[in-house]
């Protein structure tokens, strides 16, 4: 080894650096130990840095760490060479390594300064921690909100659904809530993200899609009643659709809510039916009388003919007249039977256009005779109105019959106080511009106490004794007229001869929208 050192020294003519230190062992030891330690440390740092960069691939400017590693390895090498040159004066080699170190340092320093603004912009761990905390808080709040909304969505008794308007304009279910699932028997999981046309039975799909189209194209909320055939059976829903638009104003989503009104509808129909039956009940006596009349006439005329035939007193003319009369009486009975039949029927016939005058006429015919027996006269005037209205004629007839029976009750009650009464005036008239038909029923039964006037249309409001009045007549009448798009009101009137009474006025629109499509557009 000493020989080798001498050779190097000899070839270059340098002396080892140890000479400068006078080969003092203590100083040599200090230098050797320090440089070795620095070198080893410097060599270990790049390993750590490289390891760090390899493991944390997300670290920004990782190449900078590699630059550091290179520069530190170079530094470390100079220190090892400094130990080496204590004995071997390879100053050329040492100089070269230093030059490499200088270049690496310079590059690293330059890169560092160049990167400085960007490094400064990097968030500090403290900052990151604060941001994280804020984010966590936000997430908690959002989660709470989401929980609140989803608990609304999931627990509300109202059936809710979200329909997505697809780019091609078609509709798909985004979500339906459990209430809707319960009410319809549809499976939320199977419905999710499915096109409406595939998710429902064809008929139901066609019916709801037409509503979605109306909401999509109209861009406004709509509400309507619909009858749907569902897995749970036929149900009636009151549904509301609300469009959700994107920034461009295009409808991208439809929020829907529906209330199952099947039961309410049924009860309503039942109440109408009950009152109809009640009206029918009060009419039953009159009907029996009406039926016994023609039957009686028939019996009398046929017996008469038979008797004359036996006595050889039946001339052909008389026979013909009698038989014609008998046939007329059977017609009269057939009409009555028809009437009772249709009157008791559940739906009261379909919606149709008809002239109200005809209804008034038939209501009058139904009670005229019966009322005449009680000296109550029904006076018709101006029943030539021609304008048609839309609705169920029998329902309107029921309303008018109830007005008659109220008038009759009032007249009888007034007579009990020894005052004269006994007239019901009926008038039907078209208004001048052909928009409305008005039906007026006026009686001379003394009028209504002004303090109860506002309540007479309330269900179950009656001033009559138990068993006489149900208090349903006017409220149901109100419902029926309202359903036809009309109005009914009452006011007290003074009549000639100092008589007083009530005038009910029914105003019906002549061309209402077709009722099957009657939607209340929320404009």
């Amino acid at each position: 080894m000493a020989l080798g050192l001498d050779e190097l020294l000899d070839t270059s003519g340098f002396v080892p650096h140890g000479v400068c230190l006078l080969w003092r062992p203590d100083i040599l030891a200090l230098h050797v130990a320090s440089d070795m330690l620095i070198g080893l440390s410097y060599f270990s740092i790049p390993v750590a840095l490289t390891y760090f960069v390899m493991r944390r691939r997300d670290v920004e400017f990782g190449w900078m760490a590699l630059l550091f590693a290179l520069f530190i390895i170079a530094c470390g090498s100079t220190h090892f060479l400094m130990v080496w040159t204590l004995w071997s004066p390879d100053y050329v080699l040492e100089g070269l390594v230093k030059a490499v170190t200088a270049l690496a340092s310079l590059g690293t320093a330059a890169a560092l300064w160049w990167l400085m603004p960007r490094l400064l912009a990097l968030p500090s761990p403290k900052q990151l921690e604060a941001t994280n905390r804020a984010l966590e808080q936000e997430i908690t709040i959002r989660r709470q909100m989401e929980m609140r909304y989803s608990s609304f969505f999931n627990n509300l008794a109202e059936a809710l659904f979200i329909v997505q308007v697809l780019p091609d304009g078609d509709f798909a279910y985004e979500a339906i809530n459990p209430a809707l699932a319960r009410a319809t028997g549809l499976d939320p999981e199977r419905l999710r993200d499915r096109r409406v046309r595939d998710a429902l039975a064809p008929e139901a799909a066609a019916s709801v899609i037409s509503r979605y189209v109306a909401c999509r194209d109209g861009g406004e909320s709509i509400d309507y009643e619909e009858t749907l055939d569902l897995p749970v059976g036929q149900r009636v829903f009151h549904t509301m659709l609300v469009p959700v638009k994107d920034a461009a104003g295009r409808v991208v989503q439809i929020l829907g809510s529906g209330r199952d009104v099947t039961e309410r509808k049924r009860l309503q129909a039942e109440v109408v039916q009950t009152s109809k039956l009640a009206t029918l009940g009060t009419l039953a006596a009159g009907m029996a009388h009406e039926m016994s009349q023609p039957l009686n006439v028939i019996r009398l005329w046929t017996e008469n003919m038979l008797s004359r035939l036996r006595d050889n007193l039946l001339e052909p003319q008389r026979a013909e007249r009698s038989l014609t009369l008998v046939i007329e009486q059977t017609d009269r009975m057939a009409k009555l039977i028809d009437h009772v039949r249709t009157f008791g029927r559940r739906d009261g016939g379909g919606m149709q256009a008809f002239t109200p005058a005809r209804c008034v006429q038939s209501a009058v015919e139904l009670v005229r005779h019966q009322y005449a027996l009680e000296d109550i006269e029904i006076i018709e005037s101006a029943t030539s109105a021609q304008l048609p209205v839309t609705g169920r004629p029998l329902e309107l007839e029921q309303v008018i019959l109830n007005l008659f029976s109220n008038a009759r009750d009032a007249i009888i009650a007034l007579r009990a106080t020894d005052r004269e009464a006994g007239r019901i005036m009926v008038a039907v008239s078209d208004d001048r511009d052909g928009q409305n038909v008005a039906i007026q029923v006026t009686d001379d039964g003394g009028g209504i106490d002004p303090s109860v006037l506002p309540q007479i249309f309330d269900p179950f409001f009656t001033t009559k004794e138990v068993g006489k009045g149900s208090g349903l007549g006017l409220s149901i009448g109100y419902g029926i007229i309202d359903g036809m798009g009309g109005r009914i009101d009452a006011r007290n009137v003074d009549l000639e001869g100092g008589r007083r009474g009530v005038r009910f006025t029914i105003t019906l629109p002549s061309q209402p929208v077709s009722s099957s499509d009657r939607e209340l557009s929320h404009a």
Partner: protein, 126 residues
């Protein structure tokens, strides 16, 4: 031939009254028709009447009132009631209205005729 017996009919249904009038006339009665209770009572006041055939439901004065008015004046006048209702006769079934017979509608004019014969003590026809 003795003067025919006079029957007063109170009936508001014109066609029924006409047929009954014709039938009873053929059987030898003199017949007067009144369209309601008030008119019948007025005819009763003016003429001698041997029997009353009356409806119950009539305008102006019903059959029940008519019978009450007539019983006040004549306790023995035969009365035949034609009615479509059973409930309405209940009170009329009472003894105090006798002689009174109730026939329900549709009535058989032959039965009316027979009833009148019996009540008036006439020989029944063959």
């Amino acid at each position: 031939m003795p003067d025919p017996l006079h029957i007063l009919i109170a009936e508001d249904e014109v066609l029924a009254a006409m047929a009954l009038e014709d039938f009873l006339s053929l059987k030898g009665f003199r017949v007067t028709v009144a369209a309601n209770g008030a008119e019948a009572l007025e005819r009763y006041g003016r003429e001698q009447v041997h029997a009353l055939v009356t409806d119950l439901r009539m305008p102006r004065m019903d059959g029940q009132t008519l019978i009450r008015e007539i019983r006040d004046r004549d306790a023995a006048l035969p009365v035949v009631v034609m009615t479509g209702y059973l409930t309405e006769d209940s009170d009329l079934k009472h003894e105090r209205w006798k002689p009174l017979e109730i026939l329900s509608k549709p009535v058989n004019p032959r039965i009316i005729c027979e009833t009148l014969h019996r009540m008036l003590g006439l020989p029944l026809e063959a």
